[in-house]
Amino acid sequence: MTNFNIILFLCGWGPHAAYQTLQDNGSDIPPEIKMVRIPCTGRISKALLFKPFEMGADGVVLAGCEPGSCRYGTGTNTALNNVEDTRGILDLLGLGEDRLRLVTFLPDEPEALLEFLTDFVSEIKGIGKSPVVPPHKKTPLVGVDDLIKQTVVAYDVYTCLDCGKCTSACPLTLAGKPFSPRAIASTIISGNIDSPSVQNDIWACLTCGLCYERCPSAVNFPEFIRDIRHILKKSGSNGHAAHGGFFQSLMRTMTSPDLKIKHWEWLPEEIRTDDKSKTLFFGGCAPYFDIFFRNHLGVKTRKILVDSLRLLNFFDIRPAVLDDERCCGHDLLWSGDKENFLKLARLNVDAIHRMGVQEIIIGCPEGYRTFVHDYPEHGIECNFKVTHIFELLEREIDKGAVGFKKFNRKLTFQDPCRMSRFENCADLPRKLINRLNLKGFTEMQDRETGAICCGNCAWIGCDSFSKAMQVKRIGQVHDTESDLLVTACPKCQIHLQCAMEDPFLGEELDTKMMDLTSVLAKTIQWE
């Protein structure tokens, strides 16, 4: 037998008939091909296209009908986009886009189908085995109740006064969701972790931390929820992932040490980096986001990374970048997968140590929080200093001789929860904003440590209530009469942009957004 695995997603209409003819005739279908019959190529989301790669597949074929002959009209077009996006992601990951193919066959083309499959198998053999290590079989968790109890003790949830301040602060509750952190806490304390409401609500919490901010007993609810998630996940809960779990799947795939990730290959020519530098710029997952959301939201969060590097170059800092940079693991940690979070953390930290770097600069607030806080807390020691890019810019600009061109906009600012609330750095972006040469800057009603979440965290639990909350938040933006919403996290842009795609409210919600880094890079100048 062969050790190559190639998954063939086969549409039950056109190509399946051709495949059946091959089977009926006893044709030599390569044994590497594992066929999965599907109703329509358009139903195979990016998450499903990618899943086999996470499981270690060497190649994937999506076989459907010619664009005009799709039984459901638009299936093939949807598949085209999904395949193109997933191929882009495979390329960044270093797996190579050639491992995924979209093909179409008519029922009367069995020979052509066979020829293609044979060629594809030899092509994949030419590329070689996938370096992805398939996940090992999970052993069911024992002693769940005890683990839950330990977590309750660790976070001292018993000190909860049942005052309800958390619930009255929670943006999900305020958006009308039948959801209460106080109730979750007391249900878990009383030993009812299996109650259906808790099992659902655990995955709905945004871990935004507003409740913790208000709690008179300082119950760290978001971290408590996070650790409960790990237990539930290990005992088999599916975790309500958004986008079919694509991002978690992507991050887990990155835990394979032999991947030759190409995180920075797209970087524009004029950006100057230096692999011998003692300073490293850690960019974060924006390149993946832009490919994934290319057709849906059209976000350009990669620009934030380019502008960050431009600003560093402006100050004659040519940082190193990590060619095989991996996700920091923030979203795995917060969506219940500590095991793979730790793998990513080790791979990143080891790679940075190998480069002999003394300081890393991070622009992504989640990455910053994860490096300064969660890595050490989980026993991953970093022998380097971690600096947020705003800190560095403030320091450099404060030296003087730098000014800002007039920027004829009225701004308001969306605080990233991981920076403003968790790391208590709400003043940092504001110092920079105050240096700008603007038409105006008006704060939103809820801001700084009290700011409302952009709508999602760690790609789980996105629902109509989180949408309602986003609509409310955008309403606050409009109340300021600003004409530009400045953000400081790529995900704030993604999730808020998503809210603006609402088919009913879309136009009403429409708001221009720009990352603070980009505003700075656009207007900064030597005096």
């Binding site: 402006f314 003087g400 001789a401 061109k405 900064i524 030597w526």
Partner: protein
Amino acid sequence: MTEQKDIKQEIVITGFGGQGIVLAGRILGEAVVLGDHRQSTLVQSYGPEARGGACSAEVMISDEPIQYPYVRHPDILICMSQSGYDKFIEQLKPEGTLIIDHDLVKPRGIDRTFFSIPCTRMAEELGRVMMANIVMLGFFTAITKAVSLESARNAVLESVPKGTEETNTAAFNKGHDYGLAVLKGREKKATGKAGA
């Protein structure tokens, strides 16, 4: 800009009494002699009344013994007051370097490039307006390189009152950082890359 190993440099620091003009001159001279092991002299002159009146320090720096300590045509002129500027500007060599306090001096009647730093304002922001001279010294060190950074910083530490070392070092660094930033900005502008 003047290179550190120029045979001889004549410097005038001018301002009004109370700004620490003479102290700045003394720190500079000590840095040159004790730190860089070169020769230096200092001549101080006060106006009619010591506090608030015009005041200046003349500093010579040389690799050879200095025979005559009075500056006639400075290579570097540092002005921390308008009257000081008005009095000395004519004497500055055509290719000399002019450095002024951005807020206190309006460089009128000249057609030459110069360096300016809001050193009094910066000192105020750092908590003590008295440290404007130290901020200026840091700036001067970065711009002219007439004295090495280490010697200048050490001389500041040696000369300021005990207990104020930290704030004075911060003041010196502030001026020095600003000087480096100004030089970098000029260089970038000259190559047409003023923005990011």
